[in-house]
């Protein structure tokens, strides 16, 4: 033990394995950042020596941008693959294209002339009953189509869950709660690995195509972060440093949302608001670059055949009136109520899955839910179509060129106003569509509770937007008919005269979608920006903001957490919430360990311990780190040493007869005094990303506070179960 003889030499080559972390542990942000600064300093110093070293320093500076470019390209390509395959496989449940099996319904009928009223029918596309029986009409054909639909749905979901279970169990679920935890400093080995990437991409397509009530936006964020993690291995700067790697992962998450919605700015804001923990300004610019490259790559692959990025891009620019804010706020309240209801029920169901026998049959669970969804979805045409198509149809404003059931208004052909149709009376088609949509709403509200969190990749954005869009459209059509039939009422007569086009039900659907999404995820800025990037205009910012704010307030009044934070708490991840204030008057001495009746702190003394003594301490206790003091009597603090480093160093000391503590001792651990208020301690943990903090009294070491202790204390103060914090 030659600790007093030498000082810690940072430039000395560390032992292999020192400085890496074990699985399910928290990283030490301060150490990682200081290592990166040292590395940067060394490269800058060396760059003055030779041209090669100068080139090396320039390439090191550019490596970040090259990495962002590669991440954008890979994320965009994978998103294109997922989009095209999901579109094709969704239509595979209904029929097949004879002009080339790889075409989905829309592309199959691309070349042929379709009729105005029946835009779906063309000779090249054969439904299953047409293929098997030869004709598509009649009860038997309907039953055959029904059966084939259910069989395909079951087959897709069975394949998905078997692949997940067999190859990459981490590929299930949404991924955003775990990515949030990883970005706050937690390590989950394999969560962002190659197999997880491949399986998540493949099974996401299968899960979406099987007709389950889930979306692909959350899993796309996971896919993009996997790309980021894998590409980090190409660059030493990011491979060896966990803190730098998390900067890259923040940018990759932004690229993921950008390709999911076609909204680069919204993606960056989503990464900033929801996913990332530390978001330095440098990351902002790089995230934007990655998001733009990803969106550009996706656009050039052109998955939807007309240079759009997202299926439900809307193009109308109708004005809205201030009085319409009342129904918009109503939609906001609905969104908030639904969000709170969904979070409560989903968490209750997931908790049941975690603790009871339900969790022992994941494959069976997926099959049963798929069967129920498929059997209930087929009869109603609005649940039979894929959810993205449903949202697209609901967002669409009805013009003279539309002939869907939802646009079957009573037309007055004498007006020659072109596309700008006035408000009209609803025809029978609209009434049929209304009650079908109401049934679809009820079904989606309940089935999504059981679908989110299953052992297949499942996202939440699209189902929430669908619920909101249906509710919005129903309300919009109701208001439109009210304005048409009672245009002489005081509230309508001022601005909505007969023959004018004042109410746009498509706008109500959009506002409803934003409200429900905000109620579930509690997003604020990113939600509004994503929605207005989807619509391509700033006209609707005020309604969107009104609805989003209302839904967030209503939902927050019922339950504090969004869906992702609720799942983090359910799983017991060590995530220190950065948004909430700690407002209790406890002090460091109330939280530190050892408490009053515990055995004294296990310390390592600098001088008086031999290798065998240290080994005995390490094998008899399971702490992840030990403070080092001068001597047991004085308890004056020297530094802190981590368990993993200690084990490696002991092995090395046995071989080389060297000192143990020389190169692994951290001489600058963070300390607070025992009278420090816990508000300040929690703030320190949050802002610096500490794992542990030592507590001193009059200069002598008294105890230690770890992140787990802080989390348990917060849980205790909030009257939650402190034993639910599982990890270190």
């Amino acid at each position: 033990m030659n600790g007093t003889r030498t000082m810690m030499d940072f430039l000395e080559e560390p032992l292999p394995g020192v400085g890496t972390y074990e699985d399910f542990n928290t990283i030490d942000w301060v150490r990682e950042k200081s290592r990166d600064r040292d590395r940067h300093r060394e490269i800058t110093n060396r760059s003055k020596e030779s041209t090669w070293a100068l080139l090396h320093s320039v390439s090191d500076a550019f490596s970040g941008w090259l990495l962002m470019l590669l991440i954008g390209l890979l994320a965009g390509s994978l998103a294109g693959l997922i989009d095209i395959s999901a579109h094709w496989m969704t239509d595979l449940k209904e029929g097949v294209c004879l002009a080339g099996f790889w075409f989905n319904h829309e592309h199959c009928c691309w070349k042929s002339n379709t009729t105005f009223t029946d835009r779906d029918k063309c000779p090249e596309w054969k439904s299953w009953s047409q293929l098997i029986l030869g004709h598509g009409e009649g009860a038997f054909a309907y039953i055959l189509n029904y059966l084939m639909y259910v069989i395909w749905a079951l087959m897709f979901s069975l394949l998905a869950v078997l692949l997940v279970k067999g190859f990459a169990p981490y590929a299930c679920g949404s991924g955003i709660p775990e990515i949030k935890t990883i970005l706050s400093g937690f390590i989950i080995r394999g969560y962002l690995g190659k197999w997880t990437l491949v399986i998540k991409t493949i099974t996401l397509v299968l899960a979406v195509s099987s007709g389950l009530s889930l979306g692909k936006e959350g899993p796309l964020v996971h896919v993009a972060c996997c790309c980021g993690n894998i590409l980090c291995h190409l660059f030493t700067k990011y491979r060896k440093n966990e803190a730098k790697r998390r900067e890259v992962l923040s940018a990759a998450a932004a690229a993921g949302v950008s390709v999911a919605f076609g909204a680069p700015i919204g993606g960056v804001l989503f990464s900033l608001e929801e996913v990332s923990y530390y978001f330095p300004l440098k990351t902002l610019w790089r995230s934007f670059f990655a998001a733009l490259v990803a969106a550009f790559t996706l656009r050039s692959i052109n998955p939807f055949g007309n240079s759009r990025l997202v299926l439900f891009y809307v193009e109308f620019h109708m004005p809205w009136h201030l009085l319409e804010l009342v129904p918009f706020i109503l939609l906001g309240i609905f969104g908030g109520l639904w969000g709170a209801f969904f979070i409560r029920s989903n968490i209750a169901w997931c908790r049941r899955r975690k603790t009871t026998r339900l969790g022992k049959y994941p494959v069976l669970e997926v099959l049963v839910v798929t069967a129920i969804t498929a059997v209930l979805a087929f009869p109603n045409e609005y649940t039979r179509m894929s959810t993205s198509e449903l949202i697209s149809e609901l967002f669409n404003d009805c013009g003279i060129l539309d002939s869907s059931k939802l646009c079957e208004y009573v037309n007055d052909f004498n007006s020659t106003k072109g596309d700008d149709l006035p408000d009209r009376a609803a025809g029978p088609g609209v009434y049929t569509a209304m009650w079908q949509l109401a049934l679809a709403l009820v079904m989606k509200v309940f089935i999504t509770i059981f679908t989110f969190g299953m052992k297949v990749p499942s996202g939440l954005f699209i189902p929430s937007m669908a619920v909101g869009a249906i509710a919005g459209r129903l309300l919009g059509v109701a208001v439109e008919q009210l304005a048409f039939y009672h245009h002489d009422w005081a509230i309508f007569s001022g601005w909505c005269s007969q023959g004018a086009d004042c109410i746009t039900p498509g706008l109500y659907a959009m506002v409803g979608a934003a409200a429900c999404l905000g109620g579930v995820t509690r997003m604020t800025v990113s939600l509004v920006v994503i929605m207005f990037e989807l619509t391509g205009g700033l006209e609707y910012i005020v309604p969107l903001m009104a609805a989003a704010m209302t839904s967030k307030w209503v939902a927050d009044a019922i339950g504090r957490e969004g869906i992702y934070d609720a799942h983090i708490r359910l799983n017991g991840y060590p995530f220190l919430e950065a948004k909430e204030e700690f407002s209790h008057k406890t002090r460091a001495m109330d939280v530190m360990r050892p408490r009053k009746n515990d055995p004294p702190l296990t310390v390592i003394t600098q001088d008086a311990m031999t290798v065998e003594d240290v080994e005995a301490i390490v094998s008899s206790t399971t702490y992840s780190g030990y403070p080092v003091v001068v001597s047991r009597a004085s308890q004056r603090l020297v530094g802190f040493v981590l368990r993993r480093d200690l084990i490696i160093s002991i092995e090395n000391a046995r071989k080389k007869q060297d000192g143990i503590l020389r190169s692994i001792l951290d001489l600058s651990p963070f300390t607070v005094t025992d009278e420090t208020p816990m508000e300040i301690v929690v703030d320190i943990f949050r802002k610096l990303g500490l794992r542990q903090c030592l507590v001193t009294h009059n200069g002598k070491l008294l105890g230690i506070i770890t992140k787990k202790d802080v989390l348990k204390h917060i849980a205790q103060m909030a009257n939650q179960d402190p034993d639910s914090i599982l990890f270190n």
């Binding site: 190859f167 190659k194 799983n571």
Partner: protein, 188 residues
Amino acid sequence: MAARGARLCSLLLLAALAGLGTEAKNSEDVRCKCICPPYKDHSGHIYNKNVSQKDCDCLHVVEPMPVPGPDVEAYCLRCECKYEERSSVTIKVTIIIYLSILGLLLLYMVYLTLVEPILKRRLLGHSQLIQSDEDIGDHQPFANAHDVLARSRSRANVLNKVEYAQQRWKLQVQEQRKSVFDRHVVLS
């Protein structure tokens, strides 16, 4: 080695997809689509024609014109013509890539669950089967160190390397399966 292979595959995939996006247009993949709503007593109609973007308007695409001469302008004002292009080659290649990866994964899964245990039982015999199922426990304090220090040990035989990597991967998947499906610790 597996990492490099996977990296190569992903770079090839993204190069293929990115390259396809900028490929020369197949002449069959462009169209001008004109939707004309019902007018007087003519029903609505949709017209498709393979014309260039500058010719994409009502007069060039709508053939034969259903209304007589003076009404053509009123009819065409209501029609909406859009120029659309797609890349059928991209769609075909993407679907084929996806189906081949899916097929490969399914074959590998069948091999791992059905074929490999049978092969192992025949080749190695029963006693060796027990040996190879030994669990490298991660709970001993020095197991990690061994793992860490043994990383630099090189294996001469390539087949041994593949075998070693596969065993390690299988252990990882087993661990993951235990945390997710059995203990419900991660991902409820």
